[in-house]
Symmetry: C2
Subunit: 360 residues, 2 copies
């Protein structure tokens, strides 16, 4: 088959990690008889430099017309980059928010998984790690306070700033459905996270999630308050299978969950909407300090490409092949600097990409 993939290298380490993911995709194409046609476009800081805005209408149109989007990372060193001297809606991150909204990608799936081979990198004690853990954060991505109205105004000589958090039942229902669908393919446990003891939006969230749960009698649903969840992720991450939550809580908790694994350079993400066209990007950021030095770990991006094969193209076998190659490379003792430990072989970004491609 032929697949049209929009490639957004972005900023910082984005270009070099996306290149390795393309290398792996090409190997998949060769092996399984597919062809991936790439259209490269600018977003984030790279787009500001050329077009003055982080996302142009043309870029969004290209992305929407393609079969899927592969993204590196956007943004730079906040405070130390010219991209942050401009209005917030013109900064690199605004491009990311705008493409999510523009493509209607309301469901962000972030697996947080402890690699057996990388137990040493996990910050938690061995007795907490136990047999390891494997969870998925399902974050609502186009609603809530990150997309609400906001304003800064002077009221009686005093500056005041306001952000509005709102959800309607349809927004909640569609993300809940995605979470239960994923849970059905996993351990059939959903923990929905909210702050229902205080927020109206959380109470509606809890109510709609409970309604959706009725359609999935095999899935066990429980509710957890967000403050408690922030604790439980550290105390006992093994208890989680699928975490379902709204945009802002998901932002905070998915980052915490990634770090708890100790392998943030390994964690992929998929952002999905109503169509098959999704956006795939690593969970980590643009790491401007190591950009262009062949030091970045390309694995999270390579695994994001695997998610693209699985969710956008229904190529499960091909996705399995990528994941198996990553596992093999770790078993063979190869590590980038961020996951290096004693006795292992340290390699750069490009070599890591090649080693994985070779194993496909």
């Amino acid at each position: 088959m032929n697949y049209n993939v929009t490639v957004i290298p972005g900023d910082g380490i984005g270009p070099e990690i996306v290149r390795e993911a393309q290398k792996v995709l090409d190997k998949i194409g060769e092996k399984f008889g597919h062809s991936f046609n790439y259209t490269e476009v600018l977003m984030g800081g790279a787009s500001i430099d050329v077009h003055g805005v982080p996302l142009t209408d043309e870029t969004l149109a290209v992305a929407k017309a393609s079969d899927s989007v592969l993204l590196g990372a956007v943004g730079g060193d906040v405070g130390n980059s010219k991209w942050y001297d401009i209005a917030p809606e013109l900064r690199p991150e605004a491009g990311l928010l705008a493409i999510r909204k523009g493509m209607g990608l309301f469901a962000n799936i972030r697996p947080a998984y402890l690699y057996e081979e990388l137990k040493d990198a996990c910050p938690l004690k061995d007795e907490i790690i136990g047999d390891g853990f494997d969870m998925v954060v399902m974050r609502e991505l186009t609603g809530g306070i990150y997309f609400g109205e906001r304003k800064t105004e002077e009221v009686d000589g005093v500056m005041k700033a306001t952000d509005i958090l709102s959800y309607d039942e349809n927004e909640i229902r569609r993300i809940a459905v995605k979470a239960f669908e994923i849970a059905m393919k996993r351990d059939k446990r959903v923990i929905s996270v909210d702050k229902a003891n205080v927020l109206d939006s959380s109470r509606l969230w809890r109510k709609v999630v409970a309604e959706v749960a009725k359609d999935y009698p095999e899935v066990q649903l429980s509710n957890m308050l967000v403050d408690n969840c922030a604790m439980q992720l550290v105390r006992d991450p093994k208890q989680f299978d699928v975490i379902l939550t709204e945009n802002m809580f998901g932002d905070i908790l998915s980052d915490e969950a990634s770090m708890v694994t100790g392998s943030i350079g390994m964690l992929s993400s998929a952002s999905l909407g109503a169509t098959k066209c999704g956006l795939y990007e690593p969970s980590h950021g643009s790491a401007p300090d190591i950009a262009g030095k062949d030091l970045a770990n390309p694995i999270a991006t390579i695994l994001s490409a695997a998610m693209m094969l699985r969710y956008s193209f229904d190529l499960d076998q091909e996705a399995d092949a990528v994941e198996a190659a990553v596992k093999k490379v770790l078993e063979d003792g190869y590590r980038t600097g961020d996951i290096m430990s004693q006795g292992m072989k340290q390699v750069g970004t490009i070599e890591m990409g090649s080693l994985i491609a070779e194993r496909i």
Copy 2:
């Protein structure tokens, strides 16, 4: 001196842990020639049972007229208690929010400290613990989304719920001042946490905090995004001295920070406003599952009483004496069940209180 203390035992383990804190206060009184007069009032579930509401005007008036308030914990087992079948504004937690607002307690100070003696209970690996860590979360407590307007309405047949987050510069300034004042007595480093890449309220927050920082040239200020902070607390808690943040982020991050220490049963908190009259309570909850069984750890409440001595009564020497007694009891090998480890002597709530009182 004579001090009038409002005592709110509250729910769950509240009554039994507050009793031990009073035992310790009485010993301080004896030793240093003070007298503490207690007025016991109901709040939370206990108040709902008697008055139908979690906080009466009379209780609030008593609290405001006293020199300080000592609180156990409020609330019960969400979903398994009759207190949660009623409207949100009538539930136990609403009493807590209302007393904070009613007393004007805008500054919540939560130390998160790794006890040398309890390193085993810390979920983090030894190489991350290093020489230990000692941070304070300064959480804004009477503003932001937990106190904004909220509504649930039907719009064109679709249910929609909204919560409003807003801050004005005065609210931000006064909490920032408290954070910088505390930093001056500590390691002189403030990390202000926000989501300034998205929220208007966070951008105003960042701006006002930077202004306040000018009055404290000795204090080093940096900004961190909330998602990053949730990661950094796990990756390297040693980097933090004072974390300054708004209400909701502080709720989430202070709980995470407590859990990272592994000693949540040990962590106290103080809520302060413009007057000397504050509210002191443990960082942990009401633990209904172990209530009344002489199993709860009273140390967080005892240390909250020490904070009361320090912040409301300016009795530094007396506060030091309580803290030293707690340290001594740990050195002597006594532990409640939650912090028990091999070779230590396990004791109950009452005995732990007595052992600490004896050491004063």
